[in-house]
């Protein structure tokens, strides 16, 4: 496994455990009508900040330990990953819209700023996760321009 693959795998694990874990734990609270907005907002900041700090530390350490540059194959796989990210964004947006139209309003839930911020984080996390998964897939299975 090359250094780029390891780096992508670590990013994927961080997203899954930190952001994914946050949503698994908070979904019930987020979908409760009249929930404390301030708590929802501060609760959102913790995983985002932790993810950002850990990403910077882990990626820097990995870049120092496994010093390996990137080439045309890495760039092609990264570009393909971005393409998959757009599909991930579309998928996450569909889930959010579905939740809004069917579940939220039926349950009397208002789209608050804190809830919207959580939705944006969800969109970004799913899009990023799909892109990273796509990159890992191409590192394993190969890629053709």
């Amino acid at each position: 496994m090359g250094s780029r693959e390891r780096s992508i795998l670590v990013s994927l694990l961080l997203i899954s455990f930190l952001i994914g874990g946050y949503f698994v734990g908070q979904t019930a609270s987020l979908l409760t009508p009249n929930a404390d907005q301030a708590q929802q907002f501060t609760g959102l900041l913790a995983p985002v900040l932790l993810f950002t700090v850990l990403q910077i530390i882990v990626q820097s350490v990995m870049a120092i330990v496994w010093r390996e540059g990137s080439d045309e194959r890495d760039r092609l796989i990264a570009l393909t990953g971005y393409r998959y990210s757009y599909w991930g964004l579309w998928l996450a947006l569909s889930i959010v819209v579905l939740l809004c139209t069917r579940g939220f309003f039926a349950a009397g839930l208002m789209l608050t700023p804190a809830l919207a911020a959580n939705a944006v984080l969800f969109l970004v996390a799913v899009a990023d996760g799909v892109g990273l998964l796509g990159q890992l897939w191409h590192y394993r299975m190969g890629i053709r321009a």
């Binding site: 090359g2 080439d71 194959r73 053709r144």
Partner: protein, 81 residues
Amino acid sequence: MALPYGYSCVKQASAKTIHNHLRALRFAHNEMSQQQLAERVGVTRQTIIAIERGKYSPSLEVAFKIADVLGLPLAEVFSYG
């Protein structure tokens, strides 16, 4: 039912892939390691591994550089069919 002429041509063309004998040629060239070849071509060792396994088709530039390092014409390193 017979397929239209154009369709069969497209299918036939897409079935063709790029093959290489890089592994054998490396060994024939003073048992050059993947790392050495990668450094001389300017790519990562993972890319050389992917090319040898047929999981990546390099750009023309990288293909020419590989052939140049091995001191062979491009057609002896890569083939299409």
